[in-house]
Subunit: 317 residues, 2 copies
Amino acid sequence: MEKEIVKLISDAGSVAIYPHVSADGDAIGSSLALGMALRNAGKRVEIFIEEDIPTVYRFLPGLELAGFHNEEDETADLNIALDTGDVGRLGSRAEFFFKAPCSINIDHHITNTKYAHLNFVDALSASTGEIIYSLLLELNIPINTDIAVCLYTAIATDTGGFQYQNTTADTHRIVAELLSTGINVGEVSQRIYDNTTYEKLKLNARAINLLELYENAKLAVVTLSLEDIQSTGAKEEDCDGIVNIGRSIESVEVSVLIKERSKNEARINLRSKTYVDVSEVAAAFDGGGHTRAAGCTVNGSLEEVKGKIIEAIKDKL
Amino acid sequence: MEKEIVKLISDAGSVAIYPHVSADGDAIGSSLALGMALRNAGKRVEIFIEEDIPTVYRFLPGLELAGFHNEEDETADLNIALDTGDVGRLGSRAEFFFKAPCSINIDHHITNTKYAHLNFVDALSASTGEIIYSLLLELNIPINTDIAVCLYTAIATDTGGFQYQNTTADTHRIVAELLSTGINVGEVSQRIYDNTTYEKLKLNARAINLLELYENAKLAVVTLSLEDIQSTGAKEEDCDGIVNIGRSIESVEVSVLIKERSKNEARINLRSKTYVDVSEVAAAFDGGGHTRAAGCTVNGSLEEVKGKIIEAIKDKL
């Protein structure tokens, strides 16, 4: 981390921290960890959130530092945005963010637009939590169990439980140090991962029952109508992980979720395991993405869309 | 590790390795890692398995070392049992195991009966994989990517993806070293975790649809009849993770699986999250287990059993 950033934080009397909108485990965990550490170092700290902290993260320590911004709030010496790739991700707090005499942007997204006075973007870090860990070392602020739990949550969630490709040797090295502060791994894992809703489970069951296998069980397709989603009481966002259900089957190489958007339009999510480039499939329908995860929007009835997608994939299997 | 064990392995010209029956990721990963390392050190190595290597682990390197024991097989200088708590877990290979001039037992199960000539049991290790890692360091055998992938698989599977309570700072420190050999974490994780069957998914969907919530959604109960299991084409062992489905719901403290065994008997699996001691519930029905995971067998029809179990739990919630 640049010495200038470390010195600015070290010298500030008051600091305001900004996680991104729709804050996830990394944004919240990093913000709480940095907030508690700076408070322990004697600074006045506030964390300005855009929405309520999601229920799943309400077990984390330091929540008393987080709140909504009021017009009467004094401007802090230093505003720090965490895990926030661009100004749009500051939401309604953007104006206030730039009011401080100095602003810092700390992030790990390679697409970060470097919108603050000082910017530290490390795209090799799997999470902002890892960057905050190193920052606290440089600031010489001890990492107690409370801070460690928040950083652990940040890192574990952004690496998909240390499973994603972004997980590095450094990720595990940092987590080792965090665990040695005395974190209860079993309990924290449960808090982070065991947080589904009954409705989401019902939607998963519906998806499993609708799942079809093609091409010698190498292709899994789930087709969800609006009616399917609504009848389980699940929310739109509950569809997020459904494409992974098909991929979890041993024989499957490509998993597809076809989700009805309207009578004549469907959103397609594509995942592959080892050899099919699904970004090519998506591109054929003007969509985009990566080799193993891509998406597109296709016109037609659900049955028509399914036919088109299977046709586009089957020669690649 | 005792110097004597390291020296014996170091001096041996031929070594036979024995994972336990129904070998899991730790037994297989540890055996392949040690086997490849000793082969690289110039020894003749065989891994004697009890059953075929499960499909999920067939991506691992070193499989050519594994095979079934034949009557004609020469006795090795040294037989090493890995992750094997007692002689029973050697299955049909037990007799052959004790024929070598010297046998070593390396394990992390606290219940290990120390049945070999030399025994190294480290119950603080989350996995046998971690012990093998340290052993290879002591033997001065380089850990290449192939060996690292096997050890990673051993450690990741026995810690439930680093989520279980047994995961330590050392676990992560060792994994950091393994990753620095160049493991493809994303691909290996997928191989390890994305290996369900269509039938098991169907059983999960059935379980979700049968799931009932009681006591303000703090108690989840799934009651599976023999017919429920058979109709999905799933196997008995596919029921293993079902009790975790209920526990994954945010509001749930206790999750129960009631599985029909016969017309008048059911097997009960109990899990809790933070405050109910389910071993007490199990004990009331002459069962046993731990605070957060326990089980018992109860007589009666499924409906009767369900009534008894709910009655036994509800005052604890």
